[in-house]
Assembly symmetry: C2
Homo-oligomer: 326 residues x 2
Amino acid sequence: MATIRDIAKKANVAVSTVSYVLNNRKKVKPETKERIMQVIEELNYQPRSVARSLKTKKTLTIGIMLPDICNLFFTETTRGIEDVANKYGYNVILCNTDKDSKKEKEYLNTLYSKDIDGIIFIGTCRNHHIIKNKQDTPIVFINSKVGDNICSVLVDDIKGGYTATKYLLERRKSEVTLLTGPLSRSSFFERMTGYLNALKSEGIEYNELLVHQCDVSFQGGYDIIRTIYDEGSGIKSIFAASDVIALGAVRALIEKGVRVPEDVSVVGYDDISIAGMFIPSLTTIHQPKYWMGEKAAELLIKRIEDRSLKSEHIVLEPKLIVREST
Amino acid sequence: MATIRDIAKKANVAVSTVSYVLNNRKKVKPETKERIMQVIEELNYQPRSVARSLKTKKTLTIGIMLPDICNLFFTETTRGIEDVANKYGYNVILCNTDKDSKKEKEYLNTLYSKDIDGIIFIGTCRNHHIIKNKQDTPIVFINSKVGDNICSVLVDDIKGGYTATKYLLERRKSEVTLLTGPLSRSSFFERMTGYLNALKSEGIEYNELLVHQCDVSFQGGYDIIRTIYDEGSGIKSIFAASDVIALGAVRALIEKGVRVPEDVSVVGYDDISIAGMFIPSLTTIHQPKYWMGEKAAELLIKRIEDRSLKSEHIVLEPKLIVREST
DNA sequence: CTGAAAGCGCTTACAG
DNA sequence: CTGAAAGCGCTTACAG
């Protein structure tokens, strides 16, 4: 591997001059520059980032912390982040935390020890004692708000939960079963808040028997419906706070001989890519996942490159997409 | 930020001694060690990886190159890679190449300039001029074989294509429509080879009108079916070389009033997570995606840590999972 | 068992 | 416009 010294020697200049050319930080005489460029080409020279980083303390790398890349919501968001990062010359380190705070802590330490320039958190829990007391690495949260002084990109989940529930109530005027993920995640907590608001606005009493927590997965939705039916309860309509839960639920309903939407209407949340292809296709609250990733990466990189920027909070309006399941 | 010198000074030892403790490379007197540890704790010291990397040329980071993390096949595999990487103390840089060879080249250069310790390629194209002439960074391919001297983890796609097609032929004794992704990707090429072999074994003439290339996505499968029907052709049974294509196709068939499986049987490939939940659930060729990721990461890391290891090729048997769509 | 010193490959004031 | 030199924060022979 050629180093900057090899280039300097061969081009008959000082290493500093080569460095100036590389980063075009100073005016270099055109001939000199050309000569250097040629040698660089010739020796197929590429600067080693670590050496540069040691000096500059910048690594052009950002971290993404999320529970599990396999969750379809996170996947698209990650893609959005990566695309923007790439555009600005950054790379992305992926960290699957499984919402395990030990893992989260370890990853965080590694990321810091690797001098990453910033971090994006998606779908993490509400208590972020972790990010306290850390240096001033820029941070952006997607889908959770942890404080005014930390950037966030989110959809108004309270409104989303409200919209979904209201829609069901207006169509059926009947009880709505809520299938939700862990309420410790702020997005689920808020969707439930929206659910409660909608009930209140219709003058309907909250019935806690209608609220079921389950794993945020196809299987989670599937299992919970089977459990409910096995217990002899029935269901009039469902608001599932996540599409994967919703689709698992639909499957279980149909296996039970329940027709969707004729017997039970189902509304999901997220609008994952399969939602429109499923049979029946799923009415759901759309989240601009890719866009949120892009936005978060832009916020982050702006703050990496200009530390004086204040934090921003981007809140999107949720959008109901009506399809066959209602 | 505390440095190793701060620790040394405060603990009244030389930096080298601190380094020895950090990496426990030499015997250090227990008391000295304890004293150092304490100071490290006290100052909340964490070594900077870049400095270490500059010297050791190791970064404990590997790269994953894949077309698009949103493709459900890649997602799970990536998760498998990341889990194993994490277990061994490595981080993972994610690169979405969109099969664009320019992007691929750029990413590759960045990865090399960042001194990553190894690379895993998933689902890339067949011509890998790119990886020639590069230094000796360990590399593993998932789902494509590029040469005896480069590790690979793959499912026997020829056999998979054969199994799927044979299964359809035996049940219906009739023509099988093949929906495939770009044949430039070796996995699709091989699945088609398997398809051809199955035809031959049943003494059926190959009919190129039955083979359709489409985008590897729900929409791709959906669109191609609509096109076929709009052209007035019919379909007896389908082997889709990817589950996403298959599911899009099923949706389009049902919209056309075609019943699955009564009128048309459909077999997919991959066994993505939604396959079992879809209505009808999808008969498909199972690929142990997570497992392949794990295996690839293990192969890679073993080679990073012991450069003398020869390349290995792991080939798995494909497994047909029969569900409702046939 | 411990320390002094060189060096990894860059960047960046500073001097000219 | 160009160069000599210090320094980023570690590791690692080498000497004792």
